[in-house]
């Protein structure tokens, strides 16, 4: 494992609704090292993207309150100035967005969009920048970089657009890449290629990658470490093997159980009852997953859930994992 790259301690990100603040990210702590792919999984509304935006400083500070610590390369990011973030974004941190068409400027040629990052963060000559752009396009697996460089986003397919976004994100060889659902809008074969590309870039640049996704298949295929989020909290954290081979928290187990499995073709799928609570209705104390597993007695949960470490490096929130069984009596 490489050296520590990013450390988050007790991070709270609260949004203002009316006069009150509501925690969308509630007491999250995690670490990411160099040469590591950390996956953040959870359903929509669990705070995955809010967490990523807090790291990269994209929240509107007039409406958001961020407390806690985010330490990146010995710098504190909570409360850092917008100028500081301008300097970091693009050079030390790269971001890959879900919808490549929305993230690209429709009126700019590909070359200009990729070069924009270099214009801002470096003082290379125009010819050198041109060379770097072509090299980047080649590196992300685009055939005929010269031609692609002159094209507009609408002339490219979804997979090619996502490759351009990745080229922009890695232009300055960032230490940390945040990929927010990078393959959700893509077909499976393209998804496989993009994930391979992310892995090869990581091997070349020794970057740390935060991969945000709700697709457990992608996580199992790509990640080294996994963080499972539910309702703004980290409910389970561990290596990819710990999470998939010995899932502990009821939420993780339920998610894994609801994947359509080859052996159970046509059977009823396992569905988690209810839905993720909305921000305003978020319970303040007790286990937040309890309402969705009502057959588990209240005594199994902790009043104020805390993190437990049943095996080394494997963390789980609340005590309900110890006695949890599905309604039909199965444990997994």
């Amino acid at each position: 494992m490489g050296e520590e790259l990013l450390t988050i301690n007790h991070l709270h990100t609260a949004f203002k609704r009316g006069t009150e603040y509501f925690d969308a990210v509630d007491d999250v702590s995690l670490k990411i090292h160099k040469d590591e792919i950390l996956a953040i999984v959870g359903e929509s509304g669990c705070g995955k993207t809010t967490l990523a935006k807090s790291i990269i400083g994209l929240h509107d500070l007039k409406r958001t309150k961020i407390t806690g610590n985010i330490k990146f390369q010995d710098q504190e990011l909570v409360g850092a100035s917008p100028e500081k973030f301008d300097q970091l974004r693009g050079s030390d941190m790269g971001m890959i967005f879900q919808d490549p068409l929305a993230a690209l400027n429709p009126l700019m040629r590909v070359e200009d969009q990729v070069r924009e990052v270099l214009d801002y963060h470096t003082d290379y000559s125009a010819t050198k920048k041109h060379k770097i752009v072509l090299k980047l396009l080649d590196q992300v697996g685009l055939e005929n970089p010269e031609r692609v460089a002159r094209q507009f986003p609408h002339e490219l397919s979804g997979g090619m657009r996502q490759r351009i976004i990745i080229a922009i994100a890695i232009a300055c060889k960032p230490e940390l890449i945040i990929a927010d659902e990078p393959t959700t809008a893509l077909d499976v074969t393209i998804q496989a290629q993009i994930l391979d590309l992310l892995r090869s870039i990581q091997a070349q640049n020794h970057a740390g990658i935060i991969l945000i996704t709700h697709d457990l298949g992608v996580v199992a295929d790509t990640a080294d470490e996994v963080v499972v989020m539910y309702a703004g909290q980290v409910v389970e954290r561990g290596t990819v093997f710990q999470i998939f081979n010995h899932p502990l928290h009821p939420y993780t187990r339920s998610l894994l159980k609801s994947i359509p499995q080859a052996e159970h073709e046509g059977d009823r799928l396992y569905a988690i009852e209810g839905a993720v609570p909305s921000l305003a209705k978020m319970p303040h104390d007790g286990c937040r997953f309890a309402p969705r597993i009502p057959w588990i007695p209240e005594s199994a949960h902790e009043k104020t859930p805390t993190m437990h470490e049943p095996e080394e490096g494997h963390y789980v929130l609340c005590t309900c994992y110890q006695t949890f069984k599905f309604e039909n009596g199965e444990a997994v």
Partner: protein, 315 residues
């Protein structure tokens, strides 16, 4: 007899350009596909973006003008509007859309949304209508107090269930589900799929299930077709497609699905790379000079594959 029979369906879009805006070429969105849907069965259409799967669904329901071919419903030809009207086709065939928010009118209450098809096709009194809407909401697991809410007040999964309730309100024989769960989370996806299956066994509805998610199709469908570039590359039962794939494109698709089995991930990755390599080197044999998929060859009673003729062999 099968409920729906599609015979050599073609949908071509003209490409116009030049001074007189003359047609100088066509996009072959659907280029000669044939298949049948049995009553009470779920038929899966799998394909990547742009393969033409949605166009087939839209042609069947009559939203797309077909270039040639035949669509037979219960033995009646339903290729034109007049023919569709004569047999109450629009009542018997309904659709569930991918994006639940944009397919529900934001200014209408749930009661009116679900009652709309009833008001179009069935002459019910006010009390009968109310009773029927309640019954429908109950089938998809929503309650009395949801009746007078607006679409934005629901979560994605609930909205998709409202879409299901609306689609089944006229007791259709066929429901076309175009990517019904692609926009949903895993646990919610399970809820919607379960309701769809329950409703199917309760009302004996046939589904045409259009999706790019091979895992979901495997779960839902008894027989299916894989599409590529407007044509079928492989057609067969679940067992044929998933356990005995023969076309290189099907193999490539199956290899690309990320598996949740972490212990096997390196092996899986290696397998995927190998298949990808074979696809690159051998794909010219599976497509003709113009990149068109070859004609389907029967390899067993249920299984047809677009193979070059010298490769056809029984299973």
């Amino acid at each position: 007899m099968s409920l729906v029979e599609i015979k050599d369906l073609q949908v071509h879009y003209p490409i116009r350009s030049g001074f007189f805006n003359r047609i100088h070429d066509y996009v072959y969105a659907v280029d000669g596909v044939s298949f049948e849907i049995e009553p009470g069965q779920t038929y899966g259409l799998i394909g990547e973006t742009g393969s033409g799967k949605t166009t087939i669904g839209r042609s069947i329901i009559g939203l797309e003008k077909i270039t040639s071919g035949k669509i037979l419903f219960d033995g009646h030809d339903v290729s034109t509007k007049k023919e569709r009207k004569a047999i109450d086709y629009n009542r018997d065939v309904q659709m569930i859309f991918q994006d639940s928010l944009s397919s529900l009118n934001p200014k209408k209450r749930i009661y009116d949304i679900i009652a709309e098809p009833l008001r179009n096709f069935e002459k019910l009194s006010d009390t009968e209508e109310k009773h029927r809407v309640r019954e429908l909401l109950d089938t998809v697991g929503l309650g009395e107090d949801d009746l007078f809410k607006y679409p934005f007040e629901f979560s994605g999964g609930q909205r998709q269930r409202i879409g299901v309730a609306r689609a089944i309100s006229t007791n259709p024989k066929l429901v076309i589900a175009d990517e019904p769960v692609s926009a949903l989370d895993l646990s919610v996806q399970a809820q919607v799929l379960n309701y769809m299956q329950e409703i199917q066994s309760q009302f004996n509805i046939s589904y045409l299930f259009i999706s790019h998610d091979l895992g979901v199709v495997r779960h839902m469908c008894d027989s299916m077709a894989i599409m590529h570039r407007g044509r079928f590359v492989e057609l067969g039962t679940r067992d044929d497609i998933y356990n005995h794939p023969q076309h290189i494109y099907t193999k490539r698709l199956l290899a690309a699905i990320p598996d949740v089995n972490v212990d096997q991930r390196d092996a899986q990755r290696k397998h995927r790379k190998e298949v990808e390599k074979i696809f690159d080197t051998e794909q010219s044999r599976y497509y003709d000079k113009n990149g068109r998929v070859l004609p389907l060859q029967k390899v067993s009673e249920t299984h047809s594959v677009a193979l070059p003729e010298d490769q056809v062999k029984g299973e």
